[in-house]
Every structure is written in structure tokens, then in C-alpha cells.
């Protein structure tokens, strides 16, 4: 049977099988597994059927724990059920996994294996998650490649039905889940042949059924549990045989052979590496290369990790091997070795003891590849070299430099086994320039159309805006089984000229390679514009150098900044992968396929781009010597802090893997404020200030998501020595003669989002379209602005105690302590965080739920939370996704107890201290900034005194350890709607009920933004989202009303773009409220499908339509006899559609399912009106809806 050849990533390959052999999918998003669930949801919404002709039910749950519960229930009710997850998600499923396995229930959990967060979160791949659940009773089947993941998905489903033992099928997160590669697809007939319908019916027959009732899930006592637990043994024992027989059945149908333990190498190998997952592919390639050099080496790939079949393992391992290295992609601190190592040792020891094996080889264990650290042939060779030593090290690491515990093996960076017939291309691009998309297309063209084999793997940096992408592509006549990054490329494409100034991109170029540069400078001019080291490498490596101004070509044909088609054409034109004419025809076919749905005009523009490219692609004549006077500037300036210079800067350069263990903090503690050193320069256009037009209202800096607009007022005399280009204007408030005002734009940190331009209310009275801020080209401004910023930075910081916090105009003078994050350009969340940092930053503690805000908030190398000129600033931490409310409450509990301790100690020391000082510290109010400043001074004085007493009085030493709590702390629990409405809702609700003085800020984008826009319970009716591809069918949860129902919780619903003043007041009231408060903040988001520059305007429309009413519920108002409920926005003035149909998430449904969209929009409009009527009713009440309950805790000092 001819089976289709396709190009896809590992996730898609797995989902293709899982969808077809299940009836129910219970899902929840988590990187890197989300794609599998998204595909299942999309296919179901499109009516795709499973093997039995039915559309599987795909149900999103509120967490992975919920998904596991739903899986368990569906299985008990007889449905074939699956789920997809990773990392913490898998850990949340663990209790149910014990149950499901204990009840011998067939299912498969497909896991894109990912690091479990420890000293830091990581979204990347290793086996720490699957290893953490290995004792649940599930079987564990591991895949090492995209093809294998596709096939193993079926093996697992077939084997679970036969054995009744549930399976975890796992493959390496990102390396396999996101690698695109050529594979042969299994046909429905293959699936039918392996999935026995009698077993499906048997599964149903075991289901709960009132027609023949029984109970399952009993509780046992000591008399029976133990022996009942042992009943599963025969089922577990049968698993290896069943899996092998299924593998053989697949081999018979497809010719692709798999074994439980796959040995490749010399039959008489003296050294063997044992490894699971994609690492086995690397080891296999390396072994073949080493054997060609005469080495007696081999690799044993473990596919079925649990149950660990000693029999099959011993049969596979060469009898004569002298030394074995077991590589684990996980770390178990304190254990004698990692899990796979221990299994191997135990199995071999037992075999030798029982005489089933003659000799015991030396077995050592080592760790590799944590968090997707690239695992290369050079590393495999290093392991074999270690095994060749008389006493190979145990507990080694490979792939890092461990200069602390000295575990790391030396790796030869020059060692390479890349085959000559394989084309290896590396492309450097920007996230938004289409490089990755074009490369994915290229892979498809070459593999699906031209019949070659191809592989694509894509590396992204940690920013959501202006991120660099590196594409690693291989093409060749044979299957590509090299799951590691290209270290020696014969084609290097640099799609952004400025990358050359920051990074050594040509280090990956092989001698004689082709180098394609997208350059604004033509073939005659470009050479002199290159930094000298780049010139030298081009000469030394004899590179063939080509330039094209792809940006100009794209602009000429109306493609804007999308250079992808142009550069793709260049690649085909000069790489020689395919004959040129053939390649051009295929590119055009691919364009038609990719853009056909986006309109003929888009297609034609891309065709034109292809046609124009060839005439503008030029070879550059390379001179004999480097002549450039351009040097690569230092990554960070010499006056940066030491940590930034020695550690952070290496990460900025893309060389983080070279940082040794000794330079890394041992406990996950990192300095604040490193984003200020990054200077990413990602905007082509930046705001330019017109002081004469400016009304100094502060709106621009208020909405700036990246904190690049700073305002100060200062005495005119300070202008002495200012650069000529430094701008200022007289302060326009009355009563400040001789005082100047300056707005300074930090242009190198600006993303060019233009929210500030849209927010600026000051227009020129004579020049149409000219405002007090306008976008201008950045390049000519940078040098002058650097000087201006340096001058601005030394102007005195405005005294917080003298700034009026009560209006947005005053806020602009407060130092932002959240700056230059890597959030999306025009992010709707970060302006709220910046405001938070301005208002309370110097006494702020933030508990941050995992999500966008934790990623742009603390994904190394850039840390945007920073400190003020006094060294104070937000203390920030992230625990998990699901526990953030509880985590933040913990901050409060500690603060309360230490405040109580400080109060007690201070009272007990009163006799040794100035009584008036003690009294005022204990009783002074700390609401206004001036009051807090006064308390700081008192506490500073107290500290001095205590230090004098510390030697003599232990109480003084104790008090010093907690004395900082005497200054009122502001504790904020921050997260997105996925956390607040779904996975963290139980904890959030509990914290709301606690009455403790914490403030909760929900950055509500109405979807799981960080994982790519999956629906949450905040997603509105009628909008599409991933997991709601057919449009959300129920209205969003009214979390504000739920919180209000407690009666003693301060609740605000805000939208900065609609009413910044109300936002400001809500933040201040929430913080001042002596109890629990929650603010629901509308955040426009890239996942809404809007022009981000219009984000604040869209917020305004959300409010004007009544969709997002602004409200405040302040229980403190009862004390003055007022209604706590205040509706801050007027009745709807526009229909909902005017707001909604500005957004792709709504419009898309109107296009794909117009009738549904109409119906849902009507329903949504009715909901909006009813909700507003209800709110008006609350607002009209003369007294609050419930008697006040005093806040029970969290009293301020």
C-alpha cells in the first residue's frame, strides 16, 4: 500500500494517530504539548471523524488535574479517551494516573516531555516530568523522532487495549515535538489492523453501567490493600511481549522495524551507550561514524522504559561489552544515579548474580540535554572517550562546563559527522519577518514536492517582540536523523543586517559555505559596512558572499516588512538544492497554497516578489584582506554591573551555553533590572516629541507598555550643559516659574508600538496629523538620543512625596520600576504593571502566576523588574501556574507574622529606645507617600540604634532581621485570566474569602495568551480561540460579581484605554483597602487579532459598548453610609458589534460560520444589556447588598 509522505512536526504526527483512535480528548494547554490538543479541537470543530466514523468529543478543562479527572471518568464510562500534556501538567495528573493504572484502564497520555520547574521554569525538553510519574503503574513508551512518535502513538494505543495497562507515550519536547521532518503516514487501514474492535467492545463492557452495576474505587484496610495491589502483576508482566508483538505487526505492514531495546553498533562492542528519546538518534549516528573509524562501540535505545523488561534488555546488550554509560535526561539530586541508570545497574547485577550474564560491565551514569540543551555527536563521542578510560567517571554531565563539582566531560567542539550529501542551512531572522514561515515552506517544497528528505528545527529567543529566530534546515537524499543543531553550515542566511553588529553569526559557517545577507547596501558598498571580524571570517573561510536588499524588494511589491518570499527565492537561487527553474515554479505553487486563502492580491504580490528577486540578488567580490574600520561594539558597556558583564552579556550574545556552573547562582536568585542593559534597538520608527505642542498630560507615558517614555520637571538652571538636541518646555502648571519639563524617549528600548501616538490628545492647530508626539525614523536619532538620555538620567528624580499621585498627569513623574520588558510591542498588560511599580514599587512584593507576565517578567537574560535610585524596588517571584493566589497569600502570612514579631520586639525594647520613636513607628499612618517616607526615616533611625544594641541584646538582633516589615508592604498577586478564572480559581477564591490584606491584579486578555490563545472561562461569547475554534458558546464568567458576593472584598473592573483616571483610582483604593482586593484589568492582546497600535482605542470601545463596564466595589464606603457599588462607565453608546468586529477573534467566526456568529452576537448583545441593567440596579441601591464584614487580618501598622 502506498502511504502518503508528509512533512510535519512531532506533535502533529502524534495527534494524527491519537485523534483517529479515540472517542474523547480531555485537554488543557501546556507548552510544548498544546499543539496536539489544538489540532484535536480544530479537527473536531471541522467535523473530522475517528476510525469509527464519529467526531471525537474534545473538552477543554480548567487544569491538567481536571483533564485527568475527565479522562478517568470517561474511561470508567467506557469511552476510548486520551489527553496531551507535559511537565507540571503531567505532575498534576499524577494522582489520577495511579488510579487509572490501578484499575487497569487502557488509555494513552501523549507527553511532549518537558523540564519540571526547579530553580527556574523552563518550557524546554527533558525527561524530568515523565521520570517524576514513573511509579504510577503506567507503561512508558519513548520515541526518538517524528516518524517514531507517529508510529509509537499507534503502538501505545494498540498495546494499551491489549494489555489493559495505561501508557504514557513520550517524546522530547521541542526537539521532537517541534522538529518538522519527512515521514510516511499511517493509513486508516493500518490503524484498523492494529486496533482490535473486540478489545474496544471489551473496554466498554468493563464500564460502569446501571444495567449490571458494580462498584469500583473502593477504600481498603490493611487487611486487603497489599494483596489487591499485587493483582496487576500478570498484566504488567505481559506488556513487553504485547508491545513487541505490536511493533512487529507494524513492521510487517510498513517495513519500519522497532524493538523494545534497539541495539545498533558493533556486535562485539566493548563500549555501549544506553539512552532514550531523540538522544538515541544522535548516538546512533555517532556510533556509525565511530565504527567507520574502527571503534567497537554501540548504542542501546530504550523504547519501553516501563515495564522494564530485563529479558529483552539482556538479549539486546552485547555480551562482551566492557563499559556501559547510561545517559539520563533528568536529574535526581542525592540519588546514587538517575532512574534509567539504576534500572540498568539493577538488571545487570541481577543477571550476573543469577548467572544469566557472565560478566558485569562497568556501568556509569551521566546527565545530558536538560531543558533542551543541544546534544551533539561530539558529546556522544566524549562519552565513549570517557568509557575508554580505565575508570570512567560516574555521575558525569556532558554539554555544560561544571567547574564547581567537576562532573562535566570535555567535548571536542570541532568534532562533526555531518554527511557531505546533506545540505545544511542556517537562517537568522526576526520573529515578524517571516523567516521561519518561509523555511517551513522550503522544507515542504523540498520534501513533499521534490521528493528529497528534509528537516527543520527552529530556535527562538525569549522575547515576545523583536525576537531573533534561528532556523536549522537539513536536506538530503536519505532520511535526516540528526536531532541536533547545525554547527557547520554550508549555507548561512542573515535576514537582518544589524545582527552582524551584535553576534558572531558566521561561526556556524563551514569553509566554502554560501553567505546570503539581506543588506540595505548594494554589492559595491556592503563590504565596507561589515564589521571587521565578519570580513575576516568571510576571507578566512572563503565564503561565497551574496547580498540582496530584500526589504526594498518586499516594500516595492507591497509586502511591507515581510521579506520571506524574497529571501526564500534567494536561497533556492544560490543553494543549488533544486534546479533554479524548477525551484521557482515550486515556490510559486507553494505561495498559491499558503496564501490562496488570503486573497488573490496577496498571491500576486508574492509572485511579483519572486520575479523581482533574481535581478536584485548580487554576488559580492570579496577582497583579499579585511579593511573595515567598523568593530563590533561591546555587548554591554564597561560600567555595567559585574554580573551583567560576566553572565548576562553572554546570554545577550547567544552564548549562554558557555557560562560555567560557577557563575550561575545556586538558588535561582538573579539581579533585578538587567533589561536596561540590553538595548535591543528593534524599532525602525520611534516617537519624536514636539515640546511646543505638548500639554504635559502624561497620557503617553501612562500607556507606554515598555516604560520608554520618562518625564521629569526640574529647575531651569539644570539645563546648563545639556546637549543641543535635548528638548524641554516650561512646566505648564501654574506656580512653577523657572521650572522646565522634559519628556525623554528611550529609543533603543522602544518597540515602536505607537500606543503613545494614539493616546496623545495634543494636535497641532495648523498641521493636519501632527501631534505632540509623532513617529520618526530612529536611525538618524540614535546617537543624539544616547546623549540626551545620559543627560536626562542625571537630572534629579522628582520627589515622590511632592508628586500628586491622584491624577495621570502626576504619575508620569514617578519612576517606573518595570521597564523594557520583552513583551509584545503594544502589550496591553504591561502598562498596568508599570503603573503598579510606579505607585508602590519601592515597597512592593509580587507573586506572579506563570504566563505572559512571568515570561516577560523574568525570562532570562532580561529582568525588567528593577530598582529605584535608592536601591529599592519590587521583590518578585513566580511559583507555579495553579498556586499563585496561595503563593501570594503566603507572602502576606509571613509579613503579618514578622510584623507582629517586630511589633512585639519593638515594644519589649521600648525601655532602651526613644519612646516617642517607638510610639510613632507603631502608630503612625502609612497611606500617603509622605507618611511612608516619614516611616522609612523612622525605621532607618531605628536600625542605626539597633545596630548599636545588637552586640548586647539578642532582641535587637532579632528585630533587625524583621524590622523592614515596619514599613507597610504592598503585596500583589498578579496573573492572567487562565490562572484566575481557570487553573488557579480554587486558590483565588480561597484567598478572596480569607479577608487578608492582599491585592490581586488579573491581567485579563480573555485567553491563555502565553501558550498561543487558548480559550479560558474569561473568553467572551462568540469569539473564536484555540480550543473554541467554532466560537465560544457560553458567556465569560463574571468574576467581579463573584468577588463582590463576598461583601468584604474590594473589587474593581478597569480598562486603562477607556478611563485611565478610574484605573489609577482603583489601584490606589485597592492598595489602601484593609482587606482583600481584586482588580480585573482589560488587556488588549495580540491574540485578539487587532492592530496593536489601536489597543487602547479598542479598550475604549469595549467600555463604550457596555461589554466591559467600569466599576468599583469598595466595602469601605459603607462606613460613610454609601453604596459600595459604583458604576464608573455610562450606558452603552455603541452596539457590541462596533467593538467586536474590530477584532479578528469575532470577525473570524462571522466569516467561517456566519449564522452562528449572528446568533452568538445577538445573544452577546442581550447579555451585555442585561448585565448592564443588573449593574445599574446595584449602583442604585442605597446601601450595600450585604452587611459589612470587617476585614479580619492584614491590619496595617
Amino acid at each position: 500500500m502506498a502511504r502518503p509522505v508528509a512533512v510535519m512536526d512531532g506533535n502533529t504526527a502524534v495527534a494524527h494517530v491519537a485523534y483517529r483512535v479515540n472517542e474523547v480528548c480531555a485537554i488543557y494547554p501546556i507548552t510544548p504539548a498544546s499543539t496536539m490538543a489544538e489540532l484535536a479541537d480544530e479537527w473536531a470543530s471541522n467535523g473530522a471523524t475517528n476510525l469509527w466514523g464519529h467526531v471525537p468529543v474534545v473538552q477543554e478543562m480548567q487544569s491538567e488535574g481536571g483533564a485527568a479527572g475527565a479522562v478517568h471518568g470517561a474511561l470508567q464510562a467506557g469511552a476510548l479517551t486520551t489527553t496531551f500534556t507535559a511537565s507540571q501538567g503531567l505532575l498534576l495528573m499524577m494522582p489520577n494516573m495511579f488510579k487509572i493504572a490501578g484499575e487497569l484502564t487502557p488509555t494513552v497520555f501523549h507527553v511532549a516531555a518537558r523540564t519540571v520547574a526547579t530553580q527556574a521554569l523552563s518550557i524546554f525538553g527533558d525527561h524530568s516530568d515523565v521520570m517524576a510519574v514513573r511509579m504510577t503503574g503506567f507503561a512508558f513508551l519513548s520515541s526518538g523522532s517524528v516518524q517514531e512518535a507517529h508510529d509509537s502513538a499507534l503502538i501505545a494505543h494498540a498495546a494499551t487495549l491489549r494489555s489493559r495497562v495505561p501508557f504514557v507515550h513520550f517524546f522530547d519536547g521541542f526537539r521532537t515535538s517541534h522538529e518538522i521532518n519527512t515521514l510516511t503516514l499511517l493509513a486508516d487501514d493500518d490503524l484498523r489492523a492494529l486496533i482490535d474492535d473486540d478489545l474496544v467492545r471489551a473496554h466498554r463492557a468493563r464500564a460502569l453501567n446501571p444495567e449490571h452495576p458494580f462498584v469500583r474505587g473502593t477504600a481498603h484496610n490493611p487487611d486487603t490493600f497489599f494483596q489487591a495491589r499485587e493483582t496487576v502483576n500478570p498484566f504488567v508482566s505481559a506488556v513487553p511481549g504485547i508491545v513487541q508483538s505490536v511493533m512487529e505487526a507494524i513492521a510487517a505492514r510498513t517495513g519500519r522495524s522497532y524493538r523494545l531495546f534497539e541495539y545498533d553498533g558493533a556486535p562485539d562492542a566493548d563500549r555501549v551507550v544506553i539512552v532514550m528519546g531523540s538522544g538515541a538518534e544522535v548516538a546512533r549516528e555517532t556510533v556509525r561514524a565511530l565504527r567507520r573509524g574502527g571503534e567497537r562501540v554501540g548504542v542501546l535505545q530504550v523504547r519501553l522504559f516501563r515495564p522494564f523488561s530485563a529479558e529483552h534488555f539482556l538479549a539486546a546488550l552485547p555480551e562482551g561489552c566492557r563499559a556501559v554509560a547510561v545517559l539520563d535526561r533528568t536529574k535526581e539530586p542525592g540519588a546514587p544515579g538517575e532512574p534509567l541508570y539504576l534500572d540498568v545497574v539493577a538488571t545487570l547485577a541481577d543477571a550476573v548474580a543469577r548467572g544469566r550474564r557472565r560478566t558485569m560491565p562497568a556501568v556509569v551514569g551521566g546527565r545530558y540535554g536538560l531543558s533542551s540543551r543541544d546534544f551533539t555527536p561530539a558529546m556522544v563521542k566524549a562519552v565513549f572517550d570517557e568509557l575508554a578510560k580505565p575508570a570512567p567517571a560516574h555521575g558525569f554531565t556532558v554539554g555544560i562546563i561544571d567547574d564547581v563539582s567537576h562532573t562535566s566531560l570535555d567535548v571536542d567542539p570541532e568534532y562533526s559527522i555531518e554527511a557531505d550529501e546533506v545540505v545544511r542551512a542556517v537562517f537568522y531572522g526576526l520573529g515578524a519577518d517571516g523567516t521561519v514561515g518561509a523555511n517551513k515552506n522550503t522544507v515542504k517544497i523540498i520534501a513533499e514536492d521534490a521528493g528529497l528528505h528534509a528537516q527543520g528545527y527552529f530556535v527562538y529567543d525569549s522575547h515576545k517582540s523583536g525576537a531573533q529566530t534561528v532556523s536549522h534546515l537539513r536536506f538530503g537524499p536519505a532520511p535526516i536523523r540528526s536531532p541536533y543543531l547545525i554547527a557547520s553550515a554550508n549555507f548561512v542566511g542573515c535576514h537582518q543586517f544589524h545582527f552582524l553588529q551584535r553576534q558572531d553569526l558566521l561561526r556556524l559557517a563551514a569553509p566554502g559555505a554560501t553567505f546570503l545577507l539581506n543588506s540595505p547596501y548594494g554589492p559595491d558598498e556592503v563590504w565596507d559596512r561589515l564589521p571587521r571580524p565578519v570580513q575576516q571570517q568571510i576571507i578566512d573561510k572563503r565564503l561565497k558572499f551574496f547580498v540582496i536588499d530584500a526589504t526594498a524588494v518586499a516594500q516595492d511589491v507591497g509586502l511591507g516588512s515581510r521579506t520571506n518570499t524574497v529571501l526564500q527565492t534567494c536561497f533556492f537561487a544560490i543553494s543549488g538544492v533544486l534546479p533554479r527553474e524548477d525551484a521557482i515554479a515550486r515556490i510559486k505553487q507553494s505561495i498559491r497554497r499558503t496564501y490562496g486563502g488570503k486573497g488573490e492580491q496577496v498571491v500576486q504580490r508574492n509572485f511579483e516578489a519572486v520575479d523581482r528577486t533574481l535581478s536584485r540578488l548580487h554576488a559580492v567580490a570579496v577582497p583579499a584582506s579585511a579593511t573595515s574600520t567598523v568593530e563590533r561594539p561591546p555587548v554591554v558597556p564597561a560600567d555595567a554591573p559585574e554580573f551583567v558583564r560576566t553572565v548576562t552579556a553572554r546570554m545577550f550574545e547567544g552564548l549562554g551555553e558557555q557560562i560555567p556552573v560557577s557563575l550561575m547562582p545556586p538558588d535561582g536568585t538573579y539581579p533585578s533590572g538587567t533589561s536596561a542593559w540590553e538595548k535591543r534597538n528593534i524599532a525602525d520608527e520611534v516617537p519624536v516629541w514636539e515640546p511646543d505642542l505638548c500639554i504635559q498630560c502624561g497620557q503617553c507615558s501612562f500607556v507606554c507598555p515598555h516604560s520608554v517614555i520618562r518625564a521629569r520637571y526640574y529647575d531651569q538652571a539644570r539645563l546648563a550643559g545639556a546637549p543641543a538636541s535635548f528638548k524641554s518646555a516650561p512646566v505648564n502648571a501654574r506656580g512653577y516659574p523657572g521650572v522646565r519639563f522634559s519628556l525623554q524617549f528611550y529609543v533603543e528600548d522602544c518597540t515602536g508600538c505607537a500606543l503613545c501616538i494614539e493616546a496623545c490628545p495634543a494636535a497641532s492647530p495648523v498641521d493636519p496629523g501632527v501631534k505632540a508626539i509623532n513617529l520618526g525614523a530612529k536611525a538618524p536619532l540614535v546617537a543624539a538620543e544616547r546623549a540626551n538620555i545620559a543627560f536626562f538620567a542625571q537630572l534629579p528624580i522628582n520627589d515622590r512625596a511632592r508628586v500628586d499621585f491622584a491624577n495621570t498627569r502626576g504619575v508620569q513623574f514617578l519612576e517606573p520600576l518595570f521597564e523594557f520588558s520583552g513583551a509584545c510591542a503594544g502589550c496591553g498588560e504591561t502598562p498596568y504593571l508599570k503603573l503598579l511599580s510606579q505607585l508602590f514599587g519601592d515597597r512592593l512584593m509580587v507573586a506572579n502566576a506563570t504566563g505572559c507576565s512571568s515570561i516577560y517578567g523574568a525570562n532570562l537574560p532580561a529582568t525588567p523588574w528593577t530598582r529605584n535610585h535608592e536601591g529599592r524596588g519590587p521583590a518578585w517571584s513566580n511559583s507555579l501556574f495553579e498556586d499563585n493566589a496561595e503563593f501570594g497569600l503566603g507572602f502576606r502570612l509571613a509579613a503579618d507574622t514578622h510584623l507582629a514579631l517586630a511589633t512585639t520586639l519593638l515594644t519589649s525594647l521600648a525601655g532602651r529606645l526613644d519612646e516617642e520613636v517607638v510610639s510613632s513607628i507603631l502608630t503612625a499612618p502609612q497611606i500617603r507617600e509622605s507618611e511612608i517616607r516619614a516611616q522609612r526615616l523612622r525605621v532607618a533611625g531605628l536600625k542605626t540604634t539597633l545596630r548599636g544594641l545588637a552586640e548586647q541584646d539578642v532582641r535587637a538582633r532579632d528585630l533587625l532581621s524583621v524590622v523592614d516589615h515596619l514599613v507597610r508592604r504592598s503585596i500583589w498577586i498578579v496573573g492572567g485570566d487562565g490562572w484566575a478564572y481557570d487553573i488557579g480559581y480554587g486558590g483565588l477564591d480561597h484567598v478572596l474569602a480569607s479577608g487578608r490584606n492582599v491585592n490581586i491584579l488579573v491581567l485579563d486578555t480573555e485567553v491563555y495568551s502565553n501558550t498561543g490563545g487558548q480559550a479560558s472561562k474569561a473568553t467572551p461569547l462568540g469569539a473564536i480561540a484555540k480550543f473554541a475554534a467554532a466560537g465560544k458558546r457560553v458567556a465569560r464568567k463574571d468574576l467581579a460579581l463573584q468577588a463582590i458576593a463576598y461583601g468584604n472584598v474590594y473589587v474593581a473592573q478597569v480598562a486603562m484605554g477607556a478611563n485611565p483616571q478610574q484605573t489609577l483610582e482603583a489601584f490606589r483604593e485597592a492598595e489602601a483597602y484593609e482587606g482583600t482586593s481584586i482588580i480585573l484589568a482589560y488587556c488588549h492582546c495580540i491574540a485578539h487579532g487587532i492592530e496593536m497600535r489601536q489597543g487602547m482605542h479598542q479598550q475604549d470601545l469595549a467600555v463604550a459598548s457596555g461589554y466591559w463596564p467600569l466599576l468599583r466595589y469598595n466595602p469601605a464606603m459603607r462606613q460613610v453610609g454609601d453604596n459600595p457599588f459604583r458604576l464608573d462607565s455610562p450606558r452603552p453608546t455603541i452596539p457590541l458589534r462596533t467593538y467586536a468586529y474590530n477584532e479578528l477573534r469575532y470577525r473570524a467566526l462571522a466569516v467561517t460560520r456566519p449564522a452562528d456568529a449572528d446568533r452568538l452576537l445577538h445573544q452577546a448583545q442581550a447579555d451585555v444589556e442585561e448585565k448592564y441593567r443588573n449593574y445599574e440596579g446595584f449602583a442604585r441601591l442605597e446601601h450595600g447588598p450585604a452587611p459589612a464584614q470587617a476585614a479580619t487580618a492584614g491590619r496595617k501598622v
Binding site: S1009, G1012, L1144, V1151, A1155
Partner: protein, 335 residues
Amino acid sequence: MDLTTRYLGLTLKNPLVAGAGPFGRDLDSIRRLEESGAAAIVLPSLFEEQVAGEQQAVERMMAASVDAYPEALTYFPAQVTYALGPERYLDLVRRATAAVDIPIVASLNGMTNNGWVEYARQLQEAGADAIELNIYFIPSDLSLSGRAVEERYLEILRAVRHATSLPIAVKIGPAFSAVGHMAAQLDEAGANGLVLFNRFYQPDIDLARLAMVSDLELSRPPEIRLPLLWIGVLAGRVKASLAASSGVETADEVLKYLLAGADVVMTTSALLRHGLGHMRTLLNGLEDWLSERDLDSLETIRGRMSHRNLADPVAFERANYLRILQGYGTSRERG
């Protein structure tokens, strides 16, 4: 009372047609218009430019977010990008024709030749009863001659005529040197009806913001004069049926248009001002006027005051202008 009329070769139960307006996007409104007596409904225009613009905007938005961050390589289900086209409009046509018994006229505003032709074909497939070509063209290129502008109109009409067998109405503006000759040419090129006139959106300037304003002013009764003039001139002299559009507020304007020779009268602004039920008020007013005069069919009055039927057609010509000027300030009723 027999109010039937023929428009675009279709027999309508009365001469009142709901013109292209926002209510035409909504099935409930379409049903209510039918219940209120509308004899046909013109749907809001399908703008090729809008479809293309949306496709490009979506492409731009997608491009800004796709493949940029490892946790979120996309932000929307894949199908979103593959269904952007006129499908939403076509679906409206399908549902509207299924929902009511009266004819549904699809309105098309193209940009490229391919757009006019392709969308016209799709509108026919979707079940529209007729197509109204809403040719919106401001010849701001100073080198473009009047003849070339006219040819552009004719070219579009011929292309669409070639692509569809549906009746075609052409909605034109009054800015031709010779409206009558233009109408005759369109007639010749296969137009089944002419809609007089298109009120091209005319920009204004917002003095506070120093910005161009392009909002739409609803039409008022005084605006009937120009269409009235040309309906009167053309009635009975072209094969194409005539639709009057602009300025209908009460049954008076409806009657005037009919007297001048319109086959149907379209109203949009009055429905927006007074609600969809206003259609019934217009119809009642028309019937009352006829009843009061013991007239039992529309045919008895249609075109009675047209150029062709007036004993003294000078009212439609230059002499009329002179008389107005001379009599200005004395009596508005003279002439």
C-alpha cells in the same frame, strides 16, 4: 388596489424597495421589512476593496505574531486564515433569499475587473434575484476625460453582463456631463435597471481635529429634486427600468417619483430615521393618496408627469430654470 410594478424584469407587489442600508445585514430586519410591506430589498454592498483590505489586514496581523515565540507560534486556529473572502456576504445572500419571499438584490462594489466578474458570478450562485452595481468612482486623476470615465462604467457593466444571467441594475451618480446619454449607453450595454442617484460620500473637515471626516449624512426630502428631474427625463425613453433613490421621507416623495416615471422607489435614510416599520407608513400613505382620488392602480399615475407625458416638457429643461430664477421669492408653487 393593484400596486404591482415591474423592476429589472421582476414583478414586485408594490413599488417600495428597501435600499442598501445596514439593516440589510440582519435576517430579522430583512424579515421585518418584508412584513412591513417592502417589495424587494437591496442588501448592503459587497465591497471588493473591503474583502481585499481585510485579507491584507489579517495577513499583516498574523505576520506580526506568527513564529515569533516558542510557546505561541500562532494565536488563532488555523482555519481562520483560510476562509477570508466574500463568504460572509454570500452567506447573507443565501440566508436572506431563503428567509423571505420578496426579491433580494445583491449590491456589488468592485475594484478590479476580476473582482466585479468573479463576485457577480458568486452572487448568482448564492441565489441573489438581481445584482445592483454600485459603481463608486471619483475620477480624481485630472488627465482622465469624461469619455474615459463613461467607458469605465460601460466596461464594468459589459463584463458583469457577460458573467451573469441575473438582471443587473446600475446605480450611478449624477456627475456626468450628459446623464441622459450615459443612461442610454448603459441601457444599450445591457442594464436592466438604473438607480438614480448614488449619493457619493462627500468628505467634511473636522475643524477641531483638523481631520477629514467621511461620515454619512442621511438624505432629506429636498434631495429628491435631482433624481426627480432625471427620472422624469428618462421615463419611457430607455428600456431599463428606473429606480428612484434619495430623499424619500414620506409618501409624498414616493408619489412624486412615481409621477415622474420611476418603476420603484428606494428608501434607506427614512428607515434609519424612523425604524423599519416606516415602510408600512409609506405604503399606507401611497394607498391613501390613490384611494382619496379613487385610483385603483399604480399604473394610473406612473409617469404621468414625466418628460414624455407632459404636454409642456419645458419643466424639465432650461426654460424652467429661468422661470424659477425670475420667480424666486414669490411663489414656490409656480412653474
